[in-house]
Structure formats: structure tokens, C-alpha cells
């Protein structure tokens, strides 16, 4: 899951850069960049979920 999260984060950046190369229209570039940014944030969410799946507070005998 961590690897997938990292890949999605980088993919978001590639989407944004791809928007620059595929169109000259500023509004289209804006939309594509937003999609890329959101994708990267989704990747961070996935990566964090993978970390939380094995979080210290979920372990047996953890605090409280």
C-alpha cells in the first residue's frame, strides 16, 4: 500500500506536467493541474492509511 501511495503521489505530478504539454489553453491547464494536485493528495491519504494500519496505538498492550 505504501508503494501504491507513493506511485499515486508522483502520478499526480505527472498529470499536472502533462497538462502543460498537451494544451495551450490556460483554463484547461488549470483544470488538469487541479486534477493532478488532488491525485497527489489522494496518494498521501493512501500512504498515511497504510501507516495507520499498523499504528502504535493499535498494537496489543498499547497505551490505554
Amino acid at each position: 500500500m505504501r508503494g501504491i501511495g507513493l506511485l499515486v503521489i508522483v502520478l499526480g505530478w505527472l498529470v499536472a506536467i502533462g497538462g502543460l504539454l498537451s494544451t495551450d489553453e490556460p483554463l484547461m491547464r488549470l483544470v488538469i493541474a487541479f486534477v493532478g494536485f488532488s491525485t497527489s493528495l489522494g496518494g498521501i491519504w493512501t500512504l498515511n492509511a497504510a501507516h495507520n494500519a499498523a499504528a502504535i496505538w493499535k498494537e496489543k498492550g498499547a497505551w490505554r
Binding site: 499526480g12 502543460l20 488549470l30 497527489s40 493528495l41 498521501i44 499504528a55 496505538w57 497505551w63
Partner: protein, 557 residues
Amino acid sequence: MTHLRSSRWLPLTVVTVAILGALSGLVPVRADDQPAPVAAVPITSADIKAVPAPSTDDLAKGDPGGTVTGNAGDIVTADPKAGLTLNDVVSQVGQNRIAINFVWTLVTGYLVMFMQAGFALVETGLCRAKNANHTMMMNFMVYGFGMFAYWVMGFAIQQGGCAGVTNLGGLQSLNNEFKLSLFGKDWGLFGTQGFFLSGQTYDVGVMVMFLFQMVFMDTAATIVTGAAAERWKFAAFAISSMCLAALWYPLYGNWAWGGGWLSQLGTNFKLGHGYCDFAGSGVVHAVGGLSALATSMIIGPRIGKYNKDGSPNAMPGHDITMVLLGCFILAFGWFGFNPGSTLGASGAGNLRIGSIAVNTMLAGATGSFGAILYMWMRYGKPDASMSGNGLLAGLVAITAPSGFVNTVGAAILGFVAGALVCFSVEFVERVLKVDDPVGAISVHGTCGLWGVLSLGLFADGTSNYGGSWNGIDGSVTGLFYGDVAQFVAQLIGCCTLVGVIFTMAYVVNWGIEIFIGQRVTAEAELEGLDLPEMGALGYPEFQLVMPGTGRSVETGG
């Protein structure tokens, strides 16, 4: 009676004068009404020689009024026998401009260096007393660790191809940027001049640039220590900080400030003036904040921060006076951060430093307004630590746009940052369940990204730093003033921060986790890191520690 009658008409008179005054400002002046330009008269050497200089006897009488000290006699002459020449005067004027810029950049750099003290106080105050020594030492040593790595290679990667900085004399020895040609465009990736500041970069202007850029890098490095405090192994911190200073901070710095591909988005893709980041909301704060997020995710939360159901527990810091004093020191240092980023005070539109300083003050103040209002309305009390974080959030947000916006824009974006940081702290703690003892991820990461975007919204198109920015003529103009493309450039910068810089920070810190481990033992964490990691308590008089038992009892107060 006469007096009374006149006072009755006074408000009307004032209003009339005000309206007429305002109208006079709106009515365009016809070209015919302009005074005729006076033809420029060239100065000759004979004119220069005719300028009288006070004699030694005159000066020996003292100069209490300061009217004769500093005169034609103080201009350095190349050939004393020839006397003062036009060449001497012109050279002196040129050197004076560069000297003013050197002094300005150095002094503002010293202010930024002092921000390390502010960070140390804020972070230590927000941690528990049993970790005071450890947290303070991380803030202290990050200065040395970071500086060393930046001197060895970070500066060369970041600024090794930035030749053409006219404010500092040109910096022509930093003349090699490694570029990749892709899709018919040149993509500047990193600089290659200036490793160890040796060879041709042993230059007075380069030294000024190094000092200023080094203290900026150290600000980014010290952000991470706050988010990972109270559980970070000191050795892991040392390696991670050096990697930040040597690798991903300089890379992003190059792309934004060193002539790299982000700064060229304007020339290559017609995106406004390319990615703009006047003083580093993105380069410094978002890089630091996103590195803090990556590190905190890997290290995990402190023991006791979350219950088994995932609900968070409050773990208050031990000294709010340290926190707020630290915030004041940081706000003071920010007057170096933002106005200093002109890299000069003389020529090329640099007199805008006054506007930049006022924007900085305003955004910090409205940031604390936004935070205090948010907390007061939500929890019924004005929270002290979040008020401090609101001040810092406003300052972080204004850092990128400070050189391009007016005071209204600065006040608005600062206020938004103040409220945003409170929301973000809650989101990071309760939804992401990432433990950040000082709120560094929100203050620097979230508000750093907001600062980058807000430049693309609020830049008012009035700045003129030598007539162009990033090689594009004209002023930087944001979405609210008509340029959509500038906002796209800023968004591409944010995508790069999240997509590339966060990933680099995560991968390197994950490598450190594999090889030496990032986190201290549970026993050390419960005991407090002062004894196990540093060998001495921060406050030995009021903290009872049973070494080896994994427990400490704070008895102060």
C-alpha cells in the same frame, strides 16, 4: 458667532476638498500639461574637479551638524596625481549601490539566522519538560548540520547556475546550470558551480548569496524537528537534516530561484512570469512542512497521543511563555526574511522593501486575528498557542506574495491563513492521525502551499524589479487582477512540492528508518529523551526521573 458659523461649514468644506482631491487624482493629465523634459547635461571631468571639498582645517573643527562629513574628498581616486576624475565618481557610485545591497542582504540574513532562536523557543515550549534538552539541542544542532551539508553541495545544486543577479554584482561565477532538453524545451534541473565555495566561486558576491541562502535553508530544516519532537532518535535527526540540506531543499530552490524549470514556466509555457515565490512560502516553508509530514508519518505518533479507538489526547507543552516569546522573535526575524529577499535596497525597484515589510507585519497580525477568532468561536476561549501559530501562519503565507501584493491582499491572505492553520491542525490530528506536537505541518506545510497559491490570486501587477521577473517583461499579476496563467504556474509549483519533494523526503527518511531506525525505544520515550538521548535533563531541579525505569514525574509548578 462667526466662529460657530464657520465650524458648521467646516465638515462640508472638508468633504468638498476631499472630493475635489480624489477627482483630481482620477482625471488623467493631458500630455500638453506635462512639464517639458529637461535635456540631460553630461558631466565632464572639469565639472568634477570644480566641486569643492572641505579642507582638513574645516574638518578639524568638528562637524556637530553632520553637514561636511562625507564629501567629494571621500571618493577614492584611482590616480592621486590626476585628482578626482569622472571615472572615479562613476565607479564609486556603482560600488556604493552594490555595497548598499551587500549590507542590506547580509543584515537581513543575520535577522533570519536569529529566527533559529525563535524556532527553538516555540518548539521546546510546546513539548513536555522531560524532552526540553533534546528538543532544544535538535534546534541548536540543525544549524551546524544543515550549514555543513549546504556548504559541501547544497548551495552548488541550488544556486550554481544563477548568474545574472545584478543586485549583488552579477554573480557571474555561478554560471553552470545542468539542463535537460525534453519536448523541445530546456528544463533546468540543478546547478554545478560552488561546491565547497571553492575555485571561481571564491567571490565576494557569492559569499553574500551563500550566507543569505544558507539561513533560509536552515529555517526549512528546523521545521521538521518540531513535528518529530519527543520521539526522534538524535542520530536519525542528524542524518535526515543533512540530507534535506544537501538534496531536496536545494533542488526545489534551484527550480524556483536558481534558474530552474519552474522559474522558466513563463518563457517555456507562457504561464505568466513562471513560478514565483518571492521569499519562500514554497521553497522554505512548504518544503519544510511536507518533509515534516513525511517524517512524522514514518516515525508515528507519541505513546499516549491516541487511544485504541483512535481518539486523540491533548499533550500540552510545558511553557507558553517560551512559545509566545519565540513567536515574537520569529516575527522580528521575518523582517529579514521577506524584505531581504529583494537581495538589495538600491536600484531595480528595490525601494519596494517598505511595502514588503508592511505586508509582512499586516499578514502576521491578521493571521493571529484569524486564529484567535476561530478558537474563540469554536471553543469559547482565545487559545494562546494557536494565536501564536496563527501569527506564524500569516507570516508563512505572506512570504511568497510579499513582494507582489498590496496591503489589502496581504491582510486578507493572512487572515485566511490564521483560520486555515486551526482547521488544518484539527484535520492532521483527528482525521489523518499524524502526531505533530507543535503544529509545524499545518503552519508551514498547509499555509506554505496557501501562500504560493495566494500569490497567483492577489499579485496586483504594480511591482517592478528592474522591469521583468524570471525573464518575462512587466509585473507579476494574479488571477484577481486578470492573469489566470500566473495562478496555473503557482499550482504547478504546489503539484511539484507535493508530488516530488514530499516523495523525496519520504523515500530518504524511509531509508534512514531501515538502516538505523528513526524512533527511540518506548522506555526512552516514556522516561523523556533528555537522559537517554542527551545524557542530561533540561530542568534537573523540578523533574524526578528514575533512570532505567522508563518513567518520569514532573513536579514543577
